[in-house]
């Protein structure tokens, strides 16, 4: 089962490899990882999707917490959160499939961000399951290339990671 964890870290060089190294050095799996600065430029936020049994997950949480640069670890397991992922898909759009691609894009509220006589590039954000569904529908048309950002998540409700302010 996949688990999503947010890690707030000092925005300093080397922190990413410290976190990534922790996973690789202990044989923990990273399914996806996204990282960028927060509203406070001295803090970066990582969203990590990982998998493992309860004991591994407990170790991952503790080990992340143990890093000197880690400010906070939020494990979203069993919590209510908003999850979004961005994907760009370059898909074949020949004479006979152009309309179909546009129709699917429309249903999924995807945007066409680049057009050539032979392809469309679509942008979509949504829950990873929705993105998976879109990809499956487009696959028969011929996907030339795609890139996924990996999910980012925020807990639901009015509180921020520091609690209510």
């Amino acid at each position: 089962m996949n688990h999503t964890i947010s890690v707030l870290v000092e925005n300093e060089f080397g922190v990413l490899s410290r976190v990534a190294g922790l996973f690789s050095g202990r044989g923990f799996n990273i399914a996806s990882l996204s990282v960028a600065p927060t509203l406070d430029p001295s803090v970066s936020r990582m969203t990590i999707v990982t998998s493992g049994d309860e004991q591994i997950l407990e170790q991952i949480n503790k080990q992340l917490n143990k890093l000197i640069d880690t400010i906070k670890v939020i494990d979203f397991t069993g919590q209510d959160y908003v999850e979004r992922e961005l994907v760009l898909i370059k898909v074949n759009a020949e004479e006979e499939t152009r309309a179909e691609v546009l129709r699917i894009a429309d249903i999924f509220r995807a945007k066409v961000v680049d057009v050539t006589p032979r392809s469309y590039t679509l942008e979509i954000t949504g829950a990873p399951t929705k993105i998976d569904a879109l990809i499956e529908l487009l696959r028969p048309m011929g996907i030339k290339e795609l890139v996924r950002s990996g999910p980012v998540v925020l807990g639901r409700g009015s509180k921020g990671w520091k609690g209510s302010e």
């Binding site: 407990e58 143990k66 640069d69």
Partner: protein, 565 residues
């Protein structure tokens, strides 16, 4: 007033109370070495950077202070890795300073450049690349704080040459504020109370002590705790000297080469109180049969070591000294119940006493060949109670653990976690620098000794009277033992075929060399070595195929001990 980076470094070390550093110079630390001339800090010139780090480590283990080592960039820095990893595995507080190529050259494959930050990331508690001299004082303050607080460990500070040369106004911060690093000190009171309840309900409690007890200087508290509840105490290799080995409650060491009674007691126990121990596989044997009937209380400063290998019924995160103190206080409040407990557990102690009598740790010195255990026993008899013993890694290390009577904390320095051959000699050197007047003895194998034998030069140069006992079996004994027991005596690459004249080697360095080839000569050689000023090598030609027993074969349970070969 403005100061250069290298001056700031030395000033910070001084303000942190560092009086001695170990190291080896080179191009990217030449500014530091230049300023050392005017600094009150003493520098010990080792002959290899690995040894400099082990020496700083030995200094730290013997004193409890932060050890400091300096190395140049590139090969100097990479030579420190084994030393750093050794300290990391045993949680030793250290600060390692490495030189780095000037910042504009970093990442360009400059001469003697290595990404030491990247290389040491998995073996340091934390590390820093200082890019601006203005950050240097703050970083050093943090480095020392991180190294010595919480679960201690090595911190590396990589210092580019141009940062050493740049100047800034020097202000040493009074406090450290790291928002991501707030080590907990006292244990959760509720948890401690629950722990006391579990103890008061137990019938067969055992206390299992690891290196954490030494690291938090908790020996007096541990003794008070064990005596209060009259529970038997077993220690790991690292926990060894933190509880007096000849105490009536002592079960000595558990695990692969532990005592029969320690391993049986753990197997039969109904409550295991783990104190600063991390359930290493050398200790637990097969996990599924480890302490199968016991509830487990685990007291540790480091939450990651809890529930890593075994299930734990009650975790208590906190500084051991503090937690044990609180425990003892709480026990006093339950005076009557404690008395009941002690009465109830009397049969348990009697059962253990029976095992001790039936299966003591033993060997026999017979015949004309020296038994290695005999040498250890003689060294024990002839040295002071507060002698500092270091070891290398191998059979000699286990025999030292088995046959020495450690009774004072910080008197047994050994590489437990990483098991680093070549550790003992430089560690002894570091301990002797810290305590010039105490007996410091490195107990070694012929294999391990050759891993850092160049440090004889350092001993002689600084007149450090370390005594080195080489138990020479002309084998990489511990590996040979495994080959004998588990590989049908196929001795692949474990025979050290070239017989080395260690006496001559000592003399070549200007040290004293002595040799014993018969049991009768052993005592005389040790006496003479202890009376001889300066460093001495004692070479003992010992039984070549002696085995460390008892032994729990790898993968077996603690109760499946083999008592003799």
């Amino acid at each position: 007033m403005k100061k250069t980076g290298s001056q700031i470094l030395l000033e910070c070390l001084h303000l942190e109370g560092v009086d001695t550093v170990f190291g080896y110079p080179g191009g990217t630390v030449i500014n530091i070495y230049n300023d050392l001339v005017d600094s009150p800090i003493r520098h010990i010139l080792n002959r290899h950077e690995q040894a400099a780090v082990h020496a700083a480590d030995g200094y730290a283990r013997a004193t409890g202070k932060v050890g400091v080592a300096i190395a140049t960039s590139g090969p100097g820095a990479t030579n420190t890795i084994t030393g750093i990893a050794t300290a990391y595995m045993d949680s030793i507080p250290m600060v390692i300073i490495t030189g780095q190529v000037p910042t504009p050259l970093i990442g360009n494959d400059a001469f003697q450049e290595a990404d030491i930050i990247g290389i040491t990331r998995p073996v340091t508690k934390h590390n820093y690349l200082v890019k601006d001299v203005k950050d240097l004082a703050r970083i050093l303050k943090q480095a020392f704080y991180i190294a010595r607080t919480g679960r201690p460990g090595p911190v590396l500070v990589d210092l580019p040459k141009d940062v050493q040369m740049a100047s800034t106004r020097f202000v040493y911060p009074d406090t450290v504020d790291l928002r991501g690093y707030k080590p907990s000190f006292s244990g959760n009171v509720r948890q401690v109370e629950n722990g006391v309840k579990m103890i008061l309900a137990s019938k067969k409690p055992v206390i299992y002590v690891g290196g954490g007890a030494t690291l938090s200087d908790a020996s007096p508290e541990l003794l008070a705790f064990a005596e209060a509840i009259q529970a038997p105490v077993t220690t790991t290799l690292m926990g060894m000297a933190s509880f007096p080995k000849r105490h009536p409650l002592s079960l000595e060491m558990l695990g692969m080469h532990g005592t029969y009674y320690a391993n049986m007691a753990v197997t039969e126990s109904d409550l295991l109180i783990a104190v600063g121990a991390r359930f290493d596989d050398r200790v637990t044997g097969k996990i599924s049969t480890f302490a199968p009937h016991a509830k487990i209380i685990h007291i540790d400063i480091d939450p990651t070591s809890i529930k890593k290998n075994v299930r734990v019924d009650l975790p208590i995160v906190g500084e051991l000294r503090d937690v044990l103190q609180t425990m003892v206080k709480k026990l006093v409040e339950h005076d009557d119940e404690v008395r009941e407990l002690v009465e109830r557990t009397a049969p348990w102690r009697a059962e253990i006493a029976g095992w001790k009598k039936k299966y003591p740790m033993s060997y026999k010195q017979t015949g004309a060949v020296i038994k290695p255990q005999f040498v250890i026993e003689k060294i024990r008899e002839l040295t002071n109670d507060d002698a500092i013993i270091t070891t290398e890694v191998g059979q000699h290390q286990m025999w030292t653990a088995q046959f020495f009577d450690f009774s004072q904390p910080r008197t047994f320095l050994t590489s437990g976690g990483l098991g680093t051959m070549g550790f003992g000699l430089p560690a002894a050197l570091g301990a002797q620098v810290a305590f010039p007047d105490r007996q410091v003895i490195d107990i070694s194998g012929d294999g391990s000794f050759q891993m850092n034998s160049q440090e004889l030069a350092t001993l002689v140069q600084y007149r450090l009277p370390v005594k080195i006992a080489i138990l020479n079996n002309n084998f990489l004994g511990m590996v040979r033992q495994w080959q004998e027991l588990f590989f049908d005596r196929r001795y692949s690459q474990t025979c050290m075929e070239l017989p080395i004249d260690f006496v001559k080697l000592a003399e070549a360095y200007g040290a004293t060399g002595l040799r014993a080839t018969t049991p009768e000569e052993v005592e005389g050689v040790i006496r003479q070595a202890l009376e001889t000023p300066g460093p001495v090598i004692m070479e003992f030609k010992v039984a070549r195929e002696e085995n460390v027993m008892p032994m729990v074969p790898a993968g077996a349970g603690l109760n499946e001990m083999v008592l003799a070969s």
